[in-house]
């Protein structure tokens, strides 16, 4: 099993399996929950797992009922398995329960995955592309942290732009090597005061833009802005989208995202990472805030 690869797909073991929680640490306003996967399957950056807890799922109030999707944020390959890190932002009953089990360190999470398509290497996205620009917003920094590590190991140069609303909604920075990151915050508590897309605009105005591919994950409105800016600048982009996922493996048809050519794709099968050119909009049908 290659320790790092960029490609888009690694097949999961069949079924739902319990994975022991082996670590849990606050990461800004988020929590990094680590589990050990003895199957040894190494996910690609951008792939996700459907997670739930063994107990209190459904919770006493009946929610969370469906499993929740989480991008893998870190991977450590060991001799007898892999440690997977998930960055969790508690916004509702499902993410709260995952944080709780993670915080207890004694429990396990039920997982199906890795699922979906991850990010492809720059040269596979655009002929001649040699570098990468990673632009993340909020909890969307999670898959970019793994992408960044994989790019470094493969010797692909990358720049990282991360944006947050405010300190209460910021985290995951420790998963990147901070020296190379440019930050933007809406409230100005760190880095550029304003949108992270302002930083992208400056980079895209530079001379070397033709040799880079933009990789992005974040709130729908940010992704849509990134998509439009890249299209106008003639730069290829890959976007990790969100949609309400009921199953993660093509069973429920709940995760529909409109295609530019008409009709829908199932994001869990044909995404969550998509080429910006294939979708109608990056903010259509996304439920999230």
């Amino acid at each position: 099993m290659p320790e790092t690869a960029l490609g888009d797909y690694t097949a999961p073991p069949f079924g739902r399996r319990p994975l022991q929680v082996v670590g849990s640490a606050a990461s800004g306003a988020y929590r990094l929950v680590e589990v050990f996967d003895p199957s040894g399957v190494v996910p690609m950056a951008g792939q996700f797992y459907m997670l739930s807890a063994e107990s209190e799922w459904p919770g006493s109030s009946g929610r969370p009922y469906l499993p929740r999707a989480f991008s893998v944020a870190s991977v450590d390959v060991g001799a007898d398995g892999v440690t997977l890190g998930f960055l969790v932002h508690a916004v509702g009953p499902g993410t709260q329960r995952i944080e709780e089990v993670g915080g207890g360190r004694a429990g396990s999470l039920l997982a199906v995955g890795p699922l979906g398509r991850g990010f492809a290497a720059p040269h596979e996205v655009a002929a001649g592309a040699k570098g990468a620009i990673l632009i993340g917003g909020g909890i969307g920094v999670a898959p970019l942290a793994l992408l960044r590590r994989n790019l470094i190991r493969l010797g692909v140069p990358s720049r990282v732009l991360l944006g947050y609303r405010d300190a209460d909604n910021a985290g995951g920075l420790d998963l990147f090597d901070c020296s190379e990151i440019k930050l933007a915050t809406d409230d100005g508590h760190a880095g550029h005061r304003g949108r992270v897309t302002d930083l992208l605009e400056r980079l895209l105005a530079g001379d070397d833009r033709g040799s880079a591919v933009v990789y992005s994950c974040g709130p729908p409105a940010m992704l849509e802005a990134v998509r439009v800016m890249c299209e106008e600048a003639g730069v290829a982009c890959q976007l990790a989208l969100e949609s309400p996922m009921g199953c993660g493996y093509g069973a429920c048809f709940g995760c529909a995202v409109p295609l530019r050519e008409g009709g829908y794709m199932r994001l869990c099968l044909d995404g969550p990472v998509v080429d910006g050119s294939t979708i109608a909009r990056a903010d259509a049908g996304a439920e999230v805030q």
Binding site: R16, Y65, V112, Y249, C252, F253, Y264, L269
Partner: protein, 291 residues
């Protein structure tokens, strides 16, 4: 797959290794095969596979959002996305025929003529063991939901009965009393019943800005409808002399046993598949352990 002799059932002449099927539209065997690989075929979760409902023409499905999480359940407004009859026969059927279990094809149309076209075309295919009629939609001519009207259902089943020798399973809707509908369909030549389909529901957006679902209303499923489903399954099983496939919130062997005790010959697992891709085989195993 489970190979327990004492769990075997005969459903309208179709031999099933155990009594756990999938509910139509809640497991895409082709997608699951693509995702998990050939191990899906080696450990196929169900004793027969029921296809997603197909319609005469292709349908893209409803605009998102399509899912709302209820307490112990889900409201969906998926909108029957499918490739249409032609696309199904050409692209999906060859792959479904390669599954290690009998295939039941679910069909829906908005008139008896269109239903006839579907049944005739599917009836010609030896890969198909039985046909399930999804009658949860209105007949465009009368405006009545076929599955809620004994007369509509009887005339549809009579018209289709003469077109095929394959078993016809009528999938009943929980929106009206299913007993008179089932009795009328039995007289008209149905071979079996499956119930319940989802219950109509319209969740509001938590933001207070109207309806949540892109299609406004959808169907409620999952454990929250189990007791209602048990009552309807028991009423239908008592009233007819045909096999009944019971479903509605089945998530464990104990749930499956409740449906069998209520008079069902087999059970189907729907929403639980979303939580656990191997729910079907787990439930069959749990059922076996219950003895």
């Amino acid at each position: 797959m489970i190979e327990a002799r004492d769990l075997r059932v005969d459903l309208c002449g179709i031999e099933l290794a155990h009594p756990v099927l999938n509910g139509s539209g809640t497991f895409d065997a082709i997608a699951a095969h693509d995702v998990f690989g050939d191990i899906l075929l080696e450990r196929f979760p169900f004793s027969a596979f029921v296809s997603k409902t197909i319609t005469p023409e292709p349908r893209p499905g409803n605009p998102p959002p399509r899912l709302w999480e209820e307490t112990d359940g889900v409201i969906n407004s998926i909108g029957l996305p499918n490739k249409g009859l032609g696309g199904f026969l050409e692209k999906d059927l060859p792959r479904l025929a390669a599954l290690p279990v009998p295939l039941i094809v679910s069909v829906m149309a908005t008139s008896a003529e269109e239903f006839a076209g579907l049944v005739q075309a599917i009836s010609e295919r030896s890969e198909v063991a039985a046909i399930e009629l999804n009658v949860s939609c209105p007949n465009v001519k009368s405006g009545l939901v076929v599955g809620e009207s004994p007369d509509e259902c009887a005339s549809l089943v009579s018209a289709l009965r003469v077109l095929t020798e394959k078993p016809l399973i009528v999938k009943l809707t929980p929106g009206a009393d299913p007993v008179p509908v089932a009795m009328a369909a039995e007289t008209s030549g149905a071979d079996a019943f499956s119930l319940v389909n989802t219950l109509k529901a319209s969740p509001l957006s938590p933001a207070g800005d109207g309806h949540w679902l892109g299609a406004v209303s959808g169907g409620l499923s999952g454990p929250t409808i189990k007791d209602l489903a048990l009552a309807q399954v028991s009423a239908v099983a008592d009233a007819v002399g045909l096999p009944v496939i019971g479903m509605g919130g089945v998530s464990s062997g104990a749930d499956a046993r409740s449906f069998l005790e209520a008079g069902a010959s087999a059970v189907a697992v729907g929403t639980e598949n979303f939580r656990d891709p191997e729910a079907g085989s787990r439930i069959a195993r749990e059922l076996e352990d219950l003895g």
